[in-house]
Symmetry: C6
Subunit: 258 residues, 6 copies
């Protein structure tokens, strides 16, 4: 069902935060087997850390803009039921100078070192580093701090799982930030996947008509649009009577611009 | 009618500001069907947010210099009758350092989070970021703040519509600022559109003569000049007796330089 | 007559300043019809603002070094008899940091907003922005302030005319500073123009001999030297007995180096 | 045996630190004769300094990421039984400004000058210098300090052995940091080496099957993966029943990405 | 005569300074007619300013390193017998920050505005601007100050003559510093000029032998070395018995390296 | 004899410092006639200054890394028996900011101006300027100070001889630092020179065998290694029984890497 999925993610253990919940507010629509596979892999990493086999594990969650990286990382983190889960977003550090950002990050890691099982989600890591492709520019000292903190072994018996999300994987590679593992999050790519989401929304009567219109307008079968934009397109379409036609229009625009 | 249209935009609801009113001081001349379409699309975005279907919607209003971006965004915002509407201009932040600009922007967004329906107009967003093509230069920390604030979901029940204007669309793309939707504002492009504006001004007796002179001088039919310059040209022409001839001269200069 | 023309420009209305007067100290020699045309166009812009048709008008006065831009802008401004006229020079801001420069500029504009009719002359605008072609370098924050201030509509009933002078027109274009209108100031280009100035100075007995010598030495008829240098050349020549011969020498050097 | 090797490296002489011990927590698996050779060469450098033949000796330990540089340098240092051994890591200087970093480094060297036999391990020296390949960027003043300190002769009778580790040897060359000697640390390169490690772990029943699967998946015999990643791969494989199959999968991924 | 010529330049009028005197300590050897011509032209500029025909005159003294620019400018200045003469050297501003340099320069000009006849010698102007060709780098704010100060008309009746020396004329051009006039200072270029200097020194018995040896060693007749180096060569040669032979050696080295 | 030569350089006159002595701790082995020539030339410069013929003389001592520049400059300085000799090293300025470095350098020169005969050794001048080839970077303000101080004439009767050492001669040229004279210090280049040093050390029985082994391993007769590395190679070889064989190994490595 397409309504807000907030209740579903309410913090059960007192550790996940409001922000984390809001990240999966829109729910996770399983529009393709990839989504299940991602959640499964995430669960495996949880176990590897939970069993204390690996005391420090870093996982890069990468994919196109709006493909659902943050929502999926948040979902996996919440489902771990770890006592300490923390979402770190660029937004949380607005207006801080470099030194303050570093202190904030140090505090986050130090907090994590105190709980028996820990997850940090570094959301939009490229933006945490103030990355801008023009220049290019970034905060070298925050980068140094992130590298040091991500390589630092937590105290014995305090295993730490780090998720970092980004739509700029190559940037992180160029900045020489290493991760132990990676999860790739795909766009909505096939007509079938799109149909799944439309059906799930309960807003459309003739799904096939919309899909056909999109194919005609764009002249191709590939969708290549993030789940986030697809949901926005549905919301725009909901404003008018011919929601099917309007959705086809909006999606065609998104596909052409992609 | 060509006289100042200030009264028409007087704040009706106590929320729009003096600045917003002055932005549409010159009125909106409907010199082409595009103008109606833009106002209509704007109204649809207003509804999408008003109905709380989409709690956060960002719209880029882009087009050549002087094409009327600010006036149109202001017009749409004023017509929404939303209780909170705020125009943010580069001018308002002159002499602030980066940290002060960020605090100012945070204050603006925080204010918006307090009212039930909100519109922010970020005017000349490229200049808010201190963008200069030579270098190029820009304020990386203000950019980071804008990205964070524009991606941050407002509190539940406080939907926010963000308009940003720019004549440098590709710059914002290179800086990786994402928008949910876009509105393109065109120049005055055809002779017919120019004639419409001349007629609307009530200043010219022989509109066709002027148009013909322009075509002869410039050697082409396309105008390609922003509405703002066209209006300035009329004002210059008004100073002399042969306003028609003078207008043709001035417009020809503008067209050649464009 | 060639003597200092200071008295002629003494502030009549208590508003123009010492600096403005000194800028036209050397008088305006009408060595070509262009000079009359420039003064005339300037007077038209004065009227457009005086009549309050256009509340904000910006004019770029551009041309080669020493061509007389500052003197002409000062002349036009003084002749307007506007109650508020202000010359803003790079020299006035030496030793100020960026923030102080911005405050100074804000003060200048704020002062202008208080008088019923206003002219600002931003002399050597490229240098006000600390422009240096090597780098290139400039003050991005002063640029931002200038852009904001030049685009800001003055209060109702306080029309403002802005003149900016520069010998670097393309620089201002690259920095994306827009002007409503432009005035091009030429060098002394023809032998006839040079003869006019020599005659005006009352220093030479055989003007044609000098001109012929110059043509022989340089091998061309074009002069291409600013009025400022021509006047300096006359002053150098005045030191010796054969002022005609010496003037030809000095001018030939200037022409060759130009 | 594959269990944590912490006890084995407990500080015996009160000088090596917790950090140093943790660096060889995973033990040293002698998967190839290179490892013995490295330890032997290291012991020779220890003797050269211990005998006071050479009062200042600097050794660069370089190799691919995760190849075991830090563990080997720590091992050699601990085995020296020198009274003063100090590990200097980028992590230890997070949040320090350049001046503080320099003071920290000066303190470390000054401390070393007080003991009769001294070893400093500068771990990830490129990161101590805040090196980032994009730009490239680094801290010029910390670099200057490192150069000065590494060239400074210790007081008579206080010989100092400096190990520096890096996976960016060419960077240090370009930055013109000179070393007296070098130790190259290789990846796990052959199937035989990999089999050695797998056997050592005691986690696999059919080592040859895994190796064969890897060769089939990757299509080549070379491994080319650091010991650190190999150990992580074993830990991941340990989570599932078919650890042999899973290890082959994970290793194949690592080999393909390398 | 070759002995120190300090007495000759002792301040006669209480205005020229110790530094100015030391700049011509080595005297001015009139090794070529160029030297007389330079001194003569300098005297003419003095007159042009003294007669108050030109209230502000700037002269660039340029030439190769060690060619005698500073000594000649100092000589001309001292010979003017103006009440205010000031030598401004990079050395005088060592350790000042940009703001302090600007204040120092403002003070120098302000001082000059107080006396009836004034000369400023800006020695090594490129270095006053902290110019370094690598980068290139320079102090943009000191440059802005210099431009402003050099363009600023002194008070009525306080004419100012500015000499600036540099061996980097093109740099000053690129930095867009304008001068009203220029003086080019040449190297010692011919054998005859060199012989003149050798003779003047009274140190050599067989001048022609030395010259012949130099021509043989270097394989050319051109000298192309600054007067400063020639004098140093004589001083080196004075240390040994065969001063003629040694001088030929040293000069040949200088010529080859030039 | 190869033992430490410290005693030999003990300060005799109370002016040379501990640092200066340590710089020639390893003695000067006269492995080639070049070494004698360098010491002789140095002595001549000493005389030129001592006799007060030249009040300010600057000499650049340049050559490959480890070729013995510092030891030779120190040797010449100590042998001068001047009352004031000062070694200035990058190490002495670690942790100083630019302003502090400049003050330190000013102090050093001011101290020198107080004694009747003075020598300054600016060791590794490129590093005193914080030169790094990547960027490239350097301290522009320290460079300006060095230029000013090196050009500044000392008070009458206080002649000053400045030695500067560097392995980056072209860098100093590009930075436009001028020297009056130069001394080039060569590597150990021939087998004969190497044999001289080996013999001098008294550590080898069969020198020719080592030389032959080196030629065979490297495939060439040229050595091209600095004296400093050769001495280190001997020290390494001294640790093992077959010192001859080990020396050949180590030297071959050094030659290959050079
Ligand atoms: N299968 C899914 N995977 C991920 N998100 C989903 C899925 N189904 C629905 N959603 C919803 O789609 C939205 C995805 O947005 P999200 O912010 O997570 O994307 P993102 O990739 O992090 O975007 P960005 O690149 O801007 O950071 C969320 O609102 C989420 O609830
Ligand atoms: N159809 C129209 N659309 C927009 N503006 C119009 C229209 N008709 C008249 N105008 C007037 O034209 C002017 C447009 O100027 P405006 O500042 O909005 O342009 P802009 O595109 O924002 O310029 P800039 O690129 O400088 O920001 C306003 O004064 C407005 O009142
Ligand atoms: N027709 C003229 N136009 C302008 N200036 C004239 C004219 N006739 C004489 N002058 C004198 O010539 C001089 C022109 O100098 P001015 O400083 O105005 O030139 P400029 O173009 O502003 O120079 P710069 O490029 O250095 O700013 C003034 O002294 C002015 O009095
Ligand atoms: N033969 C070996 N050599 C080195 N390390 C080994 C060896 N055998 C096992 N190990 C273990 O492998 C790991 C090597 O990791 P280490 O951090 O030393 O690598 P590194 O090269 O320093 O990595 P990085 O490039 O990230 O700095 C350690 O945990 C160590 O205990
Ligand atoms: N004809 C001459 N012209 C100039 N200097 C001369 C002449 N004859 C002798 N000298 C002496 O030569 C020296 C010239 O040095 P000076 O410092 O003036 O040269 P410079 O061109 O300013 O050098 P730099 O390029 O280093 O600034 C002075 O000592 C001066 O006394
Ligand atoms: N003939 C020689 N010349 C110079 N140094 C020698 C000679 N013979 C022996 N030595 C010794 O060799 C060493 C040379 O090292 P030194 O530091 O002077 O070299 P350098 O060229 O200054 O090195 P760097 O390039 O690192 O500054 C010293 O220890 C010195 O005592
Ligand atoms: Mg996200
Ligand atoms: Mg606008
Ligand atoms: Mg001017
Ligand atoms: Mg390591
Ligand atoms: Mg000079
Ligand atoms: Mg040295």
């Amino acid at each position: 069902d397409f309504v807000r999925a907030l209740d579903e993610v309410k913090p059960l253990f007192g550790v996940s935060e409001e922000d984390l919940s809001r990240a999966v507010e829109g729910g996770i629509i399983k529009f393709s087997p990839h989504i299940d596979k991602i959640l499964e892999t995430g669960a495996e990493f949880i176990n590897q850390v939970k069993s204390n086999t690996t005391p420090l594990l870093s996982v890069l969650v990468h994919g196109p803009r709006g493909s659902g990286k943050t929502a999926l990382a948040a979902r996996i983190a919440i489902d771990s039921e770890f006592p300490f889960i923390k979402l770190v977003r660029p937004m949380d550090m607005i207006g801080m100078n470099e030194m303050q950002k570093i202190q904030y990050l140090q505090k986050v890691f130090t907090d994590a070192y105190k709980s028996p099982l820990n997850i940090l989600v570094l959301d939009d890591l490229d933006l945490i580093l103030d990355w801008v492709p023009i220049g290019p520019r970034f905060s070298a000292s925050v980068l140094a701090a992130i590298k040091g903190l991500m390589k630092n072994k937590p105290p014995l018996g305090r295993p730490l799982l780090i998720f970092a999300t980004t739509s700029e994987k190559t940037v992180l590679q160029q900045l020489q930030i290493s991760f132990n593992q990676q999860i790739a999050v795909p766009n909505v790519n096939t007509q079938q996947e799109l149909a799944h989401i439309m059906h799930d929304s309960g807003q459309f009567e003739d799904i096939q008509r919309a899909i056909q219109m999109i194919e005609e307008t764009t002249g191709k079968r590939e969708i290549g649009v993030g789940i986030q934009q697809v949901i926005l397109g549905i919301q725009t379409a909901m404003q008018v009577d011919d929601s099917t036609g309007r959705f086809a229009e909006v999606m065609s625009d998104f596909i052409s611009e992609a």
